[in-house]
């Protein structure tokens, strides 16, 4: 068996604050193969975006990736000098951001922003780069790409802008795309279109995809595997069908139980009580303990990772199969 394309081992990222160093993500481990889609799910502040930026090497001071390994095709990205990391970024590893209104530079034309991406990694003429940019726009379903190349970002709708961002991410046929909530800022219909585009392109090119979202319903239709993050740690990780059908961690269980489609009509929606703890003041032991109905004395210690049937779990009292979801 060959080594996976991406293997994250015990990744830890810390931020220096006035109150000392705060660990934002810790013990994050997962693997991703070529053509696979991993859904990274969690609430705001659970550390899923930080995980994405850590892989990209785009954590700025006062933040710092302080532990673990990011093995990309067998090479630890953390040990790469910045120029080599820059050569990978946008080339082998690309990223799509959350808000398409903010990611494109408002004062530069689309062709400028696309061509510079090509020229940053390849020695080709501007004409060739321009042709490739036009083809990429066509590939993500932008009508009359030749004309649209000369447009400015504000002349596009939100969905179209996100398509442009996706086209930019695809320019070099990357091995890995990290998509940080790319459909959150869009209408539901546009969301579905974007999902279809990305899914098709990732499958056609064998691109590995990390899809960061708080929307479990998106993950259910898109991902092969899912990792649920809570307070900077992955609490449950496994095949998407298994995890969504039979969630074992009380947090995942609560998330899925709170989906409107899972709740009978006319009743109050189920919810997880309480709020996400501040990352600087995590409760002792299991971070979910104060919100968890199943918590006991044992949960005052950090739960170890257990592995059953290809599923990783970080809980002392997992929900068993027999209980109602």
């Amino acid at each position: 068996m060959t080594a996976p394309m991406l293997e994250i081992r015990n990744l830890r990222t810390e931020f220096a604050t006035d109150a000392g160093r705060v660990t934002v993500i810790d013990e994050v481990s997962f693997t991703l193969n070529r053509g696979q889609v991993l859904g990274l799910v969690g609430e705001s502040g659970s550390g899923k975006s930080v995980t994405g930026f850590s892989i990209m090497g785009l954590i700025d001071p006062p933040g710092q990736v302080s532990g673990g390994q990011i093995l990309f095709k067998g090479e630890d990205l953390r040990t790469l000098p910045e120029p080599r990391m820059r050569a990978l970024r946008g080339n082998r590893i690309a990223m799509i951001f959350q808000d398409p209104a903010m990611t494109l530079n408002p004062v530069l034309r689309i062709d400028t922003q696309m061509i510079e991406t090509i020229l940053a990694h390849e020695k080709v003429s501007k004409t060739v780069a321009r042709d490739r940019a036009r083809d990429a726009l066509g590939m993500v379903g932008i009508p009359s790409p030749e004309e649209r190349l000369r447009a400015y970002p504000h002349q596009f709708s939100g969905g179209m802008r996100q398509r442009v961002a996706i086209a930019i991410a695809l320019l070099h046929r990357p091995d890995l795309i990290i998509a940080d909530e790319p459909t959150t800022a869009l209408d539901v219909t546009i969301q579905a279109q974007i999902l279809a585009v990305v899914q098709r392109l990732a499958r056609d090119h064998g691109t590995g995809l990390i899809w960061i979202t708080h929307d479990l319903s998106v993950i259910a239709g898109l991902a092969d595997r899912v990792a649920v993050m809570y307070a900077g740690r992955i609490v449950e990780h496994g095949d998407v069908d298994t995890v969504i059908r039979t969630p074992r961690h009380p947090y995942t269980h609560g998330l899925i139980g709170s989906l409107p489609s899972r709740n009978p009509r006319g009743q109050h929606l189920k919810q997880i009580t309480g709020t996400t703890p501040a990352i600087a003041a995590l409760p002792q032991g299991c971070a979910f303990r104060p919100r968890c109905a199943r918590a006991t004395e044992a949960c005052l210690a950090a739960p170890p990772v257990t592995q059953t049937e290809g599923r990783l779990l970080r809980c002392f009292h997992p929900v068993t199969e027999g209980e109602a979801a």
Binding site: M56, L58, M95, T103, L104, V107, L108, H154
Partner: protein, 323 residues
């Protein structure tokens, strides 16, 4: 675009008209020029003739129309002191002031932009903090004091640069320019620098805050995720966004710089409009004062127009639909 420029020109004309009305009213407050013009031993007949010649016997609204007519014809009377047409007198001094002001603005960009970029890129570094503290000095030190200090250091102690006058000039388009000769350029440096000190500080601070804002923006993060070199991000992605407020403020400031070159011109004996307006105010030389003020108004209006156009070229978002 053409229609838009036409509309802006119309607005400009209205502003000029309003300013002319204000100026005319202000002139009424200063009082009659008759006393300044007449010799002490003038007879009553001489006095009446002068009043008639100046049109001061007409009702006020007729006087205002005559004033406007003269303005449109470029005739604002003859200087009492120099016995020359006032407009021609001011215009003959305009190139010297323009040269000084434009050179000062150029300096503020050449010095201010790089300083702002350096400070904004690493806002917590010692270099950045030194630059930002220095810029406060540039804001708060009075121009006349800086001018005198510069003369003392570079002219008196070091003897590197001349302290007054324009030096050797070259005639181009029938006007003498200093910056085309080495000697003239040396004369230009000290006054231009002291005039630009405020602008340097302003451009530095504007650029710094613009760069800081842009560096933390999503589009810069996206540009980094595309694998672009830091240099390209700074000089293309960041700088083009930062230039929008800088061009606006600097453009508007050209007018102010011209109007306030008065102090600098006085200190460095720079023979521009500022010097002549001070002399004219002292002598109550009404036509010259009027000519100067109207010229400044026109210049402000024109510069505003140019800035608006530049602004549109820089920021595609405010260009009109259908262009």
């Amino acid at each position: 675009m053409t229609l838009w420029i036409f509309q802006r020109l119309l607005q400009a004309a209205l502003v000029a008209l309003a300013m002319a009305a204000l100026l005319f009213l202000a002139l009424q407050l200063i009082g009659s020029p008759v006393e300044t013009l007449l010799p002490a031993e003038a007879t009553h007949e001489e006095r009446l003739r002068l009043i008639r010649d100046l049109g001061l016997d007409q009702p006020l609204h007729i006087q205002f129309l005559m004033f406007l007519k003269g303005m449109v014809q470029g005739n604002l009377g003859v200087s009492y002191v120099f016995k020359e047409p006032a407009v021609a007198l001011i215009l003959s001094r305009l190139p010297a002031t323009l040269e000084l002001a434009l050179f000062a603005v150029l300096l503020s960009l050449i010095i201010g932009l790089p300083l702002g970029l350096i400070a904004g890129r690493r806002p917590h570094s010692l270099t950045a903090q030194t630059i930002m503290t220095g810029s406060i000095l540039g804001f708060s030190l009075p121009i006349f004091w800086v001018g005198i200090l510069l003369i003392m250091i570079f002219s008196v102690w070091l003897g590197w640069l001349p302290s007054s006058g324009r030096g050797q000039t070259v005639m181009v388009l029938g006007v003498g320019w200093s910056f085309l000769t080495w000697d003239g350029l040396r004369h230009l440096i000290l006054p231009a620098f002291s005039l630009s000190l405020f602008n340097i500080s302003m451009v530095t601070r504007l650029t710094e805050s613009g760069v800081r804002e842009a560096m933390s923006s999503e589009y810069v993060k996206f540009a980094r995720a595309k694998g672009l070199a830091p240099r390209r991000i700074l000089t293309v992605h960041v700088l083009k966004n930062v230039m929008i407020p800088v061009v606006t403020v600097v453009g508007l400031d050209i007018g102010t710089t011209i109007a306030f070159s008065v102090v600098t011109e006085t200190i460095f004996a720079w023979p521009g409009m500022g010097k002549i307006i001070i002399d004219s105010i002292a002598a109550l030389d009404r036509p010259v004062i009027v000519a100067y003020l109207m010229l400044v108004v026109l210049m402000f209006v024109l510069i505003n127009l140019v800035v608006d156009i530049l602004y549109r070229l820089l920021d595609p978002r405010i260009r009109l639909q259908g262009e």
